[in-house]
């Protein structure tokens, strides 16, 4: 008993200070990419050829679909002029799939909070059912880690629950395989209204590297109405938490809630 208490003392207080202070990220972390069409050598299109998912296009300016982007270094390695680069900005969640398509010089329109009435019902207690539907256990790992003492998800009133009947929403990882189609639909149907759906990771948004494979459906939106899209492969836990908190209207940099 004494040893347990001493170990507890030595381990100390570890919870980070979100939402007000984001924990530091590694210098090689790849967050929001920025495109600079002016720096782009016309007609080169090496980035397109290198991209494993067809996320980037260099036709008539530079365009990138963050829903397909795996945040790898294929385009930045391929580009001879540095027209594409990743920043350390972890904030990536959006509430409209179209907002993930960014152009040169453009930032990201981050997710809007849920509407006033929804916030009244779910704002202080959001229970989520996490469903892995063809995920590689990458997104699942970083969704799960939010429950540890570092992130302490429950201090925001957010909890993962075992039964969809107890849930206010669903978090989907993976491209939704054909073999999980029915299970995802049934889980969604079992969640009482009002409810939210979060698509976490490139697979759940676009099929990721599996887009086009006949064994999968191309993302969660093919099966359920998705309210929030959190890109990455996998998204950093900080990016996922930022997405959840944005849905709740809890991020200090957020404008007033508009989403109905």
């Amino acid at each position: 008993m004494h040893r347990i208490l001493l170990t507890r003392l030595a381990q100390g207080h570890r919870t980070n200070r979100m939402p007000n202070v984001a924990p530091p990220l590694p210098d090689r972390f790849r967050g929001l990419p920025v495109l600079d069409a002016k720096a782009c050598a016309s007609g080169c299109r090496a980035c397109e050829a290198a991209c494993p998912t067809g996320a980037i296009s260099a036709r008539k300016g530079l365009h990138l679909d963050l829903g397909k982007c795996l945040f790898c270094t294929a385009c930045t390695d391929a580009c001879p002029t540095g027209a594409v680069r990743f920043t350390g900005d972890h904030r990536l969640a959006v509430s409209d799939r179209k907002d993930l398509r960014i152009d040169s010089g453009e930032g990201l329109v981050l997710a809007e909070a849920m509407g006033k009435e929804l916030r009244r019902v779910l704002g202080r207690s959001l229970r989520l059912r996490v469903v892995s539907a063809g995920g590689c256990n990458g997104c699942e790992v970083d969704v799960n880690v939010l429950q540890t003492i570092v992130w302490d998800l429950s201090r925001f009133g957010i909890q993962y629950v075992a039964s969809p009947r107890h849930a206010d929403g669903m978090v989907i990882c993976g491209p939704v395989t054909r073999n999980m189609d029915l299970a995802v639909r049934k889980t969604w149907a079992a969640i009482p209204e009002p409810k939210l759906a979060f698509a976490v990771g490139a697979c759940a948004i676009s099929g990721g590297p599996y887009a086009g494979q006949k064994e999968q459906l191309g993302g969660a939106a093919e099966v359920v109405p998705v309210d929030y899209f959190i890109p990455g492969c996998p998204p950093h836990p900080l990016t996922i938490l930022d997405g959840f908190l944005r849905a709740l209207g809890r991020m200090p940099d957020q404008k007033t809630a508009r989403k109905a």
Partner: protein, 512 residues
């Protein structure tokens, strides 16, 4: 002892296909069965689209790998499983992928729930609506007092999907059947004709918690088939990343085992410390799961002196905290009482099913790719031996936990030496990126990597144009899931979460 009919192969070395003896189907069958009977292990058994079968055998004690092949004239052959149980899942897989009927297979059920890629009848005789994961004729125990428990595919937690069907008498489990395939996204089918633009990313996400292990095996194949060498510095960085992956997952699992027996201090500390290990992978390459680090020809990121220093400092801190957290487990009689003599997998059973990795070592088997089949040019020989410790060979939950704990010590020893060795190799220069180099025609290459769950095996065969005519990915979980089923026999159904976690197998790594 290995049959003389096999071609000797080395881990990660390409071989012209014509050097692999093409046996008659009968001789091929006899060769595999005789090798297994004399103590060799079936690493892989698979078929290409032209009904050419490949078998890989390992004599682990002697550090020898052997390969044989045969060509079938029709899509049916006498099953090997009755004489070689380790072949059971491989044969079912070939039936589902290539429509090959293993005649006399005693447990003939689909593996993943999809139709064969080759045209022809479905050997399982399924109607189109029945081609889905989990739709298999489950084994049933009959009797008035017997009850059946079905769990999944969606489980009560942040876990991948799978279906577990228990046959119980009260609390006692007579039989557990595990149905997978829910995560099937067609990786091996997509690899045919490759490598393609998305192939490297599919390998990184074959089992996303084993990114380094699978990607290394894949890159080793690409490098051997294209004649590129990654160089000692890149090899060492890969080995460092592999051990960090092992430390993160073992820490997480020891914490989760503590959680499953209600011992919250270790559970809560290890949940956090696992993140510290993952963050060291992110120090290397920006990704907690080691994405974009390993690539054909080398690594995407180098470690300079400052980064090595930071790695060492943070590693030592994380290790001290891990030791403090995990040692509480072994000192708690309540935990030991729940770990010991629960979920027993005997050495004989482990050998029979072809178990690998920590689960096999915990049942007393001596196999570890790093020691017995090391990649040439890698520094994995720096890993010390682990099986001189009799405490971790009883085959129960305790043994599986203890083996991981011992292995973590070895990983730390290795990392300590490897970080120093990296400094001595001088600064690395960034190599030009060659994700998809031209591959040699009509070659075969087997690459093995000891991932944190055990042996990861990737077999690549190229056609006359240098494209993959067969690419087989074998996650250690492929061998070990039936170990979990056996370990549950005669146990209590309430011990299932604990037993499951003690193996912690991959769903997506099997489903592919």
């Amino acid at each position: 002892m290995m049959s003389g009919n096999l071609a000797r192969v080395s881990n990660g070395a390409a071989l012209p296909l014509k050097k692999v003896p093409k046996l008659s189907p009968g001789a091929f069958r006899d060769c595999v069965i005789a090798s297994v009977a004399s103590g060799s292990r079936l690493v892989a058994l698979c078929a290409d689209e032209k009904l050419q079968l490949f078998a890989i055998m390992a004599d682990d004690e002697a550090g020898i790998l052997g390969m044989a092949r045969t060509a079938l004239s029709k899509p049916a052959y006498p099953a090997l499983t009755p004489e070689c149980p380790a072949a059971q899942l491989f044969e079912r897989e070939m039936a589902e992928q290539q429509g090959l009927l293993p005649e006399g297979h005693p447990w003939f059920k689909p593996v993943r729930g999809h139709l064969p890629g080759r045209p022809g009848p479905d050997p399982f005789g399924r109607k189109p609506a029945e081609v889905l994961a989990g739709l298999i004729p489950f084994y049933r125990v009959e009797g008035t007092s017997i009850h059946e428990v079905g769990v999944g595919p969606v489980h009560a937690g942040v876990i991948e999907p799978g279906h577990f069907r228990f046959q119980c008498l009260g609390e006692e489990v007579f039989h557990l059947e595990i149905a997978l395939g829910y995560q099937h996204r067609g990786i091996e089918r997509a690899l045919l004709g490759g490598p393609h633009a998305a192939t490297l990313k599919m390998m990184e996400s074959a089992a996303g918690d084993t990114t380094i292990g699978h990607t290394w095996a894949y890159c080793q194949n690409i490098e051997a088939l294209s004649g590129i060498a990654p160089g000692p510095r890149a090899s060492l960085i890969r080995a460092i990343a592999l051990e960090l992956e092992r430390l993160a997952n073992h820490t997480g699992d020891l914490g989760a085992l503590a959680g499953d027996v209600g011992f919250l201090p270790t559970s809560s500390f290890c949940g956090r410390i696992r993140g510290d290990w993952l963050n060291l992978s992110a120090l290397l390459c920006g990704s907690r799961l080691g994405r974009d680090l390993v690539r054909p020809g080398g690594v995407g990121f180098d470690l300079d002196g400052d980064r090595c220093l930071e790695l060492r400092t943070r590693m030592e801190k994380a290790w001290a905290e891990t030791q403090a957290a995990v040692n509480l487990l072994w000192q708690a009689p309540t935990v030991m009482q729940r770990f010991e003599r629960v979920g027993l997998l005997t050495g004989e059973q482990a050998q029979e099913i072809g178990a690998v990795g920590p689960a096999a070592r915990a049942s007393g088997l001596r196999l570890d790719v790093r020691l017995q089949h090391p990649l040439s040019g890698s520094s994995q020989s720096l890993i010390p031996h682990g099986w001189d410790d009799p405490a971790g060979s009883g085959g129960d939950v305790f043994a599986r936990a203890w083996v991981r704990w011992r292995e973590m010590h070895h990983s730390i020893d290795f990392l300590s030496k490897a970080v120093s060795a990296l400094g001595a190799l001088g600064e690395g220069k960034k190599a030009e990126r060659r994700d998809r180099p031209a591959l040699g025609a009509n070659q075969v290459c087997l690459s093995l990597v000891e991932g944190w769950r055990g042996e990861i095996a990737h077999l690549a065969v190229t056609d006359a144009g240098g494209a993959f005519s067969l690419y087989k990915v074998i996650d250690p979980s492929f061998h070990n899931w039936s170990g979990l089923a056996l370990a549950m026999r005669g146990g209590q159904i309430s011990d299932f979460p604990l037993c499951n976690k003690s193996f912690n197998l991959s769903y997506c790594g099997v489903d592919l």
